[in-house]
């Protein structure tokens, strides 16, 4: 299994209506056997990135190497990459089983071994019963699994999976997620997985690459991404429900550090909650963006006062929407709480749960009291 190095890769599509800069100066290293999830909103350049790695689109700039060999100028057949396509793209005149086995034809494996592989893969993906059917006569979810199977049965240096489970219902997705992770680990597959599902990314990936507008925003482990987002975009993009963000005026003295948010609410902390370096930085930064995750915004005693606008028990957690000086913030509580609409509540947040971002650039300044 090989290491993938993407070095300053750009993708510019030229068309009559003008140029689209779909991927901008992308740097990404995927270690041998590592599973990386590519996460980002629709149109941010995820598929474009995969297509450049697979060789269906030329790189406009930069280099891609796989296992130390530059591959960006090679034809797709010579790259040793397997891919599951966003639109399945099964070959209509072949059955599901034939679709999966034709990927093995050029592998020179013994016939019996090929058949066994297809059968095992079909069982893992729960499509063993439709191997003799044609793509047009099976459901979208089945086609999607067949397409995933076609990519995974092959021996490849790198597996590219473009939204491989988007069509499946949550239960099946959860089951397959576990099996696929086991399979990828067992075969030590270097994998890039595109997904819109953060749970899937968290569950499957060793590291997550967050993209937006063609730019890599952050590349980190799931835990780090959540605890130390590199900028406002990743902060708000990762996490469900999204992070509450306020702009705040900072006043840092020797004893206390206070943030005054729009509407006049002041959050004040003893200076000892913040590192020396952070206090120094804040003294020079009068205005910041303050991010607070809904899970960290606790109902009870606290400086943030507001009125409840909605309160929903979701079966395992409660979402409380609170109007604070004309802005809606969301608080999540693990217990079942019920607050009538219109009632007054107070909210509190600990210094270790604060995310501070530069108000202008959006880049992270500090997480939980220490510099980012």
């Amino acid at each position: 299994m090989a290491e993938l190095d993407i070095t300053r890769v750009d993708k510019i599509y030229h068309s009559r209506k003008g140029d689209v800069h779909a991927v901008k100066a992308l740097d990404l290293v995927v270690k041998p056997g590592e599973i990386v999830a590519l996460l980002g909103s629709s149109g941010c350049g995820k598929t474009s990135t995969l297509r450049m790695i697979a060789g269906f689109e030329e790189v406009s700039n930069g280099a891609i190497t796989l296992g130390g060999k530059a591959i960006h100028a090679l034809p797709p057949a010579a790259r040793g990459v397997a891919m599951a396509f966003e639109a399945y793209s099964l070959y209509p005149p072949l059955t599901i089983g034939e679709n999966m086995s034709f990927a093995l034809k050029s592998s020179r494996l013994p016939q019996a071994e090929q058949e066994k592989r297809v059968k095992d893969m079909a069982e893992m993906l729960e499509i063993a019963d439709i191997l003799n059917k044609y793509p047009s006569s099976v459901s979208g979810g089945q086609q999607q699994r067949a397409s995933l199977g076609r990519a995974l049965v092959r021996d490849a240096g790198l597996y590219l999976l473009d939204e491989p489970m988007g069509q499946l219902e949550p239960q099946l997705r959860a089951v397959l997620r576990g099996r696929i992770k086991h399979y990828l680990r067992e075969h030590n597959c270097t994998t890039i997985l595109v997904t819109h599902d953060q749970t899937e990314a968290n569950a499957l990936a060793d590291r997550i690459a967050v993209m937006e507008g063609g730019v890599l925003q952050q590349y980190a482990t799931p835990a780090e991404l959540k605890a130390r987002p590199a900028n406002l975009f990743t902060g708000t993009f990762i996490g469900e429900p999204p992070m509450n963000v306020f702009t705040a005026d900072v006043s840092a003295t020797a004893e206390r550090v206070s943030f005054t948010v729009e509407g006049g609410t002041t959050l004040s902390y003893p200076a000892s909650d913040m590192s020396e370096a952070l206090r120094g930085r804040l003294a020079k930064t009068p205005r910041i963006a303050l991010g607070i995750r809904p899970h960290a915004l606790q109902l009870g005693e606290g400086p943030v006062k507001g009125k409840v606008t909605a309160c929903q028990w979701l079966g395992d957690q409660t979402h409380v929407a609170v109007d604070v000086a004309g802005r809606t913030v969301v608080s999540v509580s693990q217990e079942r709480v019920s607050r009538p609409t219109g009632s007054d509540v107070s909210l509190n947040v600990a210094a270790r749960d604060l995310h501070l971002f530069d108000a202008a650039s959006g880049n992270a300044i500090a997480h939980g009291g220490t510099l980012a």
């Binding site: 068309s15 697979a54 891919m83 034709f102 034809k105």
Partner: protein, 285 residues
């Protein structure tokens, strides 16, 4: 409900019958003519009561045309052979050139691509006669006048645009990722084109080929001007029936029946492809 649907059925059969009569009548009439002598054809008033003869067919096949003014040599079978040769070779060449070109236009966006494709289509806009006069001069200089190669070449004006545009639409309908999936599994571009793209576009290719064949078969002016009797197809050869002693209606009718047989047979055989191919590829392309 039941009542209205049976009425509907009746009306539909009536409408279909009318359409069939309208379109088949000329063919049936010609077929009847081909079994009569000139005298019975031209009698007044016309009648469909006659004793069928096959002299017209034998005259065509043996090449002996007997008229009131005497016996005349005919090379109808040579014309027939020319028609087959010219149409088959023209369509074959057009497919060899046009299918890869259609694929290129469908898949690769290159500079001037659209303009080139449109120029090829525009060959169909120009009146053939306008093209022919300058062309006949060039053909003389190049020594291509009255050669099969020269004719097959000009027939590309008919066949190539047709194949290019129909097949292109068909290729455009095939998701590129189906090809990509095959290529990434270790297959070359060419192998993917021949193993995946062409089989998937087969109905479109068959339909386009058939249409091109019919257009080539029915062409008249190119061979009239660029070739002489021994290289001319049936469309031009039929002129021989206009003789000094009158028009040989019976033989013309027999010639028509013989000459529509290949295209008709081909069209019936490929009917399924034709409908599928034209309604799917061409409309979108």
């Amino acid at each position: 409900m039941d009542h209205s649907s049976s009425l509907e059925k009746l009306l539909r059969s009536v409408a279909i019958t009318l359409v069939l009569v309208f379109f088949l009548f000329p063919i049936v009439w010609i077929f009847l003519m081909s079994l009569q002598t000139n005298e019975t054809i031209l009698r007044i008033p016309p009648s469909i009561a006659f004793t069928p003869i096959i002299d017209n067919y034998t005259a065509l096949i043996t090449g002996q045309l007997r008229t009131a003014a005497g016996s005349l040599q005919l090379n109808f079978m040579q014309n027939m052979f020319n028609s087959v040769l010219l149409s088959v070779c023209s369509v074959a060449l057009s497919l060899v050139l046009g299918v890869p070109a259609a694929y290129a236009f469908a898949r690769f966006k290159f500079r001037l691509g659209e303009d080139i494709a449109f120029t090829l289509l525009s060959f169909r806009f120009a009146p053939a006669l306008l093209v022919l006069l300058p062309l006949s001069l060039y053909f003389k200089t190049l020594g291509l006048t009255n050669t099969y190669i020269g004719l097959i070449w000009v027939y590309q004006l008919i066949c190539l645009p047709l194949i290019l545009w129909i097949v292109r639409g068909y290729f455009e309908d095939i998701s590129p990722d189906i090809e990509h999936a095959y290529r990434i599994a270790g297959n070359s571009w060419w192998r993917t084109f021949t193993r995946i793209s062409i089989p998937l576009a087969k109905p479109g290719i068959a339909a386009a080929g058939l249409l091109a064949f019919i257009f080539a078969w029915n062409n008249f002016v190119f061979a009239l001007i660029l070739a002489s009797a021994d290289k001319q197809p049936v469309t031009v050869g039929a002129l021989a029936f206009v003789t000094a002693s009158g028009i040989q209606y019976g033989q013309i009718a027999a010639a028509i029946i013989i000459s529509i047989t290949p295209t008709l047979a081909l069209a019936l055989y490929a009917q399924r492809y034709l409908v599928e191919g034209l309604s799917m590829g061409a409309v979108k392309g």
